[in-house]
Amino acid sequence: MSEPNAAARKRVFLYIPTTFLVLFFVLPLVALVVLSFWQTANYKIVRDWTTLNYVTLATESAYIIFFLRSLLMAILVSVFLVVVAWPIAFFIVRFGGRYKLIFSLLLAVPFLSGEVLRLIALQGMLGPTGLINGALMRLGAAPLRFIMYSNSATFIAFVYLYLPMTVTTIYLSLLNFDLRLASAASACGAGRLRVFSEVIWPLNLSGTMIGFLLSFIPTLSASLAPRFLGGPNGTLYGMSMAQQFGESGTWALGAAMGVVLVLFSIAALVILSLGVNLRRTGFTGMER
């Protein structure tokens, strides 16, 4: 193959998707930043540079509370998901045998049916007349109040929405992990806990971190689940942001909230990737 030909091909294969992403992914994010430094008055954009939106976000207690609530929710949901997803993924990889593919594809069905439809389904379970409370009332018991229109309902919804994603990520990590390493460690006399904490966990840490992030980031900026299930004290940051773009028409403030969410997502990404020592995770670069 001649050299200029190969260079031209390389250009096509890498530059087309790169251009696509720069135009339709990076540029919109830049526009979001620009908008966040403008103002909105009477449902119109005023193109005056100002940091007023950020001052509002940093000083008004409602926004601070929404944000802290979102952050706490995102941390709790992601930690819980990682703790639950590990044994599931490990079981599939270790004992799944020839049913591995079925197990993992069964996770995709609830994932692919979409957020709105899944929230509708969950409402059928958790709502005042849903399956759980309906069954309890038929049995003569009192309905569980904490799963109706509360932060716990939102928590359950997030777990329901992102469990397939977290399990799949950790599953893929474990699938590429050589289980013989664990056997070798235990043959050399390491106890069960030690095999896990010194071999299995560190070697799958980067996959686990990605699983954590893939539930943390959407939870941090979620708007549908809290709006539908969160009740009066369940407003989260993303929901408030969506309202700025909807009912209130204060787009610039909403854009500033979007920037805050993007920044915190990036911060989470950076903090977690600093925590991952690539060498220790067995990453040896992209071998070809």
């Binding site: 890498l14 044994p87 692919l112 049916s113 509708i120 059928g124 773009f245």
Partner: protein, 268 residues
């Protein structure tokens, strides 16, 4: 020795129990609304009975019909666009990126780490608020494709990771043009990955609310109509719609499974 194996047994079945609980948790709502959609008492449909009324209502509701057509157009175009982009990206990263492979792979996976609502809002900021463009199908398709692109890229990269590029070269050496080598050698061998990418992108774009919502204005899509209806209380039609979508996704997954199994058993 005996206590060891007992511990192993306990660990295995604790994990198994968590797995079963998780799958029950994931599927119980889906089965519940299946019953609810077919019941005379949608709130508490036990014992289940069979009444297709909600499906008839759904089929004759004109709002859902136009929303269905719109969603279908968006999902099909998104599936094709994001799969083509993802395919180019996959080949680019695996074959032509050299030392920059990791950089490009992280960049191409980037949209995964920006939530859907932020993608929708930032795209709207660009088109509507900066350029003054009204929301339309094209912008909705493009924004959806950005979100699906990362999934397509990762699915096809996972499938193509072990692809032997010498097969293309062999075809070219035997006189085929690169395009013909792609069409007759590579495409059949990588079809299950491409198929998976198309299906996943289609279904994601069909059911995603956040992105289309901010880019379409008043044009109804299935999720936006469902969301609108939701605010006035859940109706049995919504259960019916949800059940149909779940059944379709289930079918698509079965197709994917058979495809993947056949590819595995076929001699390579």
């Amino acid at each position: 020795m005996d206590s060891m194996s007992l511990k192993d047994f306990a660990a295995k079945w604790t994990m198994g129990l968590i797995l079963i609980t998780a799958y029950v948790f994931l599927y119980m709502p889906i089965v519940h609304i299946l019953f609810a959609s077919l019941s005379n008492h949608p709130n508490f449909p036990y014992p289940p009975n069979f009444n297709p009324k909600s499906y008839v209502n759904l089929a004759t509701n004109s709002i859902y019909q136009s929303a269905f057509v719109n969603s279908l157009i968006i999902a099909s175009c998104t599936a094709v666009l994001s799969t083509v982009m993802g395919f180019l990206a996959t080949i680019g990263v695996l074959r032509f990126a050299g030392k920059r492979a990791l950089f490009y792979a992280v960049f191409f996976a980037g949209p995964l780490f920006v939530s859907e609502i932020l993608l929708g809002i930032s795209s709207m900021s660009l088109y509507y608020l900066v350029f003054g463009l009204q929301g339309n199908m094209v912008t909705a398709i493009i924004a959806n494709s950005v979100h699906c692109f990362s999934f397509c890229f990762l699915i096809m990269a996972a499938m193509l990771y072990k692809y032997d590029w010498r097969m293309n070269e062999a075809a070219i050496v035997c006189g085929a043009t690169p395009f013909r080598a792609f069409l007759e050698v590579m495409l059949p061998l990588t079809w299950s990955g491409i198929m998976g990418s198309l299906i996943v992108a289609f279904v994601l774009a069909l059911n995603g609310l956040d992105i289309s919502f901010y880019l379409l204005g008043a044009t109804p899509t299935m999720p936006s109509v469902a969301w609108g209806a939701l605010r006035y209380g859940v109706k049995p039609e919504l259960y019916a719609l949800s059940t149909i979508i779940n059944a379709a996704v289930f079918l698509a997954i079965i197709v994917l499974f058979l495809k993947a199994r056949n590819t595995k058993t076929a001699p390579v």
